[in-house]
């Protein structure tokens, strides 16, 4: 039982990261139906911005988090304006290839500028272990979990209660109708990219802090996992992405903990496929009948 609780804590910490990255995926997909393959690399850039800010400028964790979120938001919007905006009306696969191009560019660019090797993220937050009986939680795990929850609550508030959030929802339902209603569609899409990228940036800094190891290709696998998390929960649905992120984190941990880590990715993919077949729109999604 102790071990199970311990594994759940491990899983939720890992899941928080997936959830934060998945939120960006799901928001972008929800609004322009683009699988933004470069999203994992924004997360990587977030970690690098955090790294530079803490090592070169000597700032602490929270300033690094904020600067990194702001930096990633800016990068996200720039990429959207340059690479994706001209393709608003192109086919989805075309947009996907563009995203892949951006992803290659960011990865290779970071390798060139920052070096291909692993960088050690400084320990900017004292790490202590708190024991609850036999279950141990580190302060870092608590920070990761709480930052994730705070950001998610803020995001939910933003999307559901503010004007810009309403605009985002309107554009995701029907961009043309939204435009007729006076919504500035381009600005709304850019805003969505900014928010999604900022969340990925936050995830990057959290990962840097938690594992203290970052490298230019660190975004590839978490990017895919986060996308799976988004699809799992119902792509385009914000609570779905959170659920999916936590779920994938926990499943991975449990498979590695009780079976073998050789199969953890395979199990994640298998669960995804089963969900898609049983409920194609994802766990929280609504099945939409196609109109003829």
């Amino acid at each position: 039982m102790t071990q199970f609780l311990q594994q759940m804590i491990n899983g939720l910490s890992l899941g928080s990261i997936y959830a934060l990255v998945a939120l960006g995926y799901t928001m972008v997909y929800g609004i322009i139906k683009l699988i933004n393959f470069a999203h994992g690399d924004i997360y990587m850039l977030g970690a690098y911005i955090g790294f530079i800010v803490t090592t070169k400028l000597g700032l602490g964790f929270f300033p690094a988090l904020v600067i990194s979120m702001a930096g990633c938001a800016l990068i996200g919007v720039t990429i959207e304006r340059i690479a994706y905006k001209p393709l608003r009306n192109a086919t989805r696969i075309t947009a996907l290839i563009t995203a892949i191009g951006v992803s290659y560019f960011l990865e290779a660019g970071t390798q060139r500028v920052m070096g291909a090797g692993v960088q050690t993220f400084p320990n900017v937050l004292a790490n202590e272990t708190i024991m609850f009986g036999d279950v141990r939680i580190s302060t870092q795990q608590i920070v990761i979990f709480s930052v994730t929850i705070v950001l998610m609550v803020a995001l939910t508030f933003l999307v559901n209660k503010t004007k810009v959030g309403r605009a985002m929802r309107a554009v995701s339902v029907d961009p043309d109708a939204a435009r007729l209603m006076g919504v500035n569609v381009d600005a709304t899409i850019s805003f969505t990219f900014a928010i999604g990228s900022a969340l990925a940036g936050a995830a990057g800094v959290l990962v840097g802090l938690y594992y203290n190891s970052i490298n230019p290709l660190m975004g590839m696998l978490p990017g895919i996992k986060a996308f799976i998390a988004a699809v799992f929960g119902g792509i385009g649905i914000i609570p779905g992405a959170m659920l999916g992120g936590f779920f994938i984190g926990v499943v991975e941990t449990l498979v590695a903990g009780y079976w073998s880590s050789l199969w953890k990715d395979a199990v994640v993919y298998l669960i995804l496929i089963v969900i898609l077949i049983v409920k194609p729109a994802g766990l929280l999604g609504k099945n939409v009948k196609e109109k003829v």
């Binding site: 141990r136 990962v207 190891s213 660190m218 696998l221 590695a256 903990g257």
Partner: protein, 393 residues
Amino acid sequence: MKTMKKAFMSALAIMMAASLAACGDSSSDTPSGSDNSGSNTVKIGLHFELTGEVADYGNAELKGAKLAIKQANEAGGNYEEVIYDNKSDTTEAVTLAAQLANDGVAGVVGPATSGSSAATYQIKNDAKVTVISPSATQIGVTLDPSGNVYNYVFRICFEDSYQGAAMAQYAVDTLAKGKVIIYADNSSDYAKGLTEAFTEQFKKLGGTIVATDYYSKGDTDFNSVLTKFKDMDYDVLYIPGYYNEAGLIIKQAREMGIDCEIIGSDGFDSESLIDLAGASNLNKVYYTTAYTTVGASDALQAFIDAYKAEYNEEPSMFSALAYDSTNLLIQAIEKAGSTDSDAVRSAVENIEFDGVTGSFSFDETHTPIKSVLVVTLVDGVQGDAVAVSPDVD
């Protein structure tokens, strides 16, 4: 409008084809040109993984190799480096092997990983280009598919089997351990070979393998598996793999309260291990290597100083191995007195080399005969190094 577009596209295609043809010409010209006129410049091919997934190791080796060439030139030699990047992609490595053979190099150092290396050996061997592999440790990699040694292929690192067996021997004899958990890198042949050799030797010496689990390159979260290990009955943890992941595993294990001895392989050897794991977590850690700064010889100290002066960072084992490989090749070329492929080859085969990663000569599989050292870490610093030789039948 449409026709204009078409015309533009075809013009583009023609231009590309033309530039390609031009490239083809120039590359086929260079070797013959250098053979005739610049006979005093000796070309050395440096073929590494400079971008892509294992760019980390490739770049470290490139630095070591470049330093060796620079020093040889300062000592009055006339060597030119020809650098090739295979993107950590074996297909690319095959193309480059052909390219190197074409470019008239006197010898090649690299690639870093066994997979890419194995993909190039057949071509280089057929083209009679001498290859020195700094770190192709896979078992039997210097042998062709029918089991004969490649004439022109040499490596200066241990074979995985040797190193794995040595660690098993040390764990049982010196550390007096009998129950081991192995946590191995599942994405490299390196860890696979080590795991097999270690398992075999450890069992032979009467030990028990309590569990074996795996991680993949690039993983950062090892908590779930370590949590599982924590409740098991074992007295030593073996981590065959590289420092990028091993550093994090050690950190997470120590933070979790796993305080048993941790043993590993020469993949641990890097300053990054200390950065990643934290110096205070690196106690009771032992690993096998051929390269240690403990009681460094003058030559080794000189290398470390030169490397720091050149690149402003500590050399890793990878840089040291590439440095040695390149020096070995240069020595052989000088001994042969020509860049004739057979002369260079036989000079390499008969060399008695004294390098920063040990003194050695080659055995019949073109693998070095050198002793394995086990290094002990105390607060992240190499405290002690003892030679171990496994009792393999």
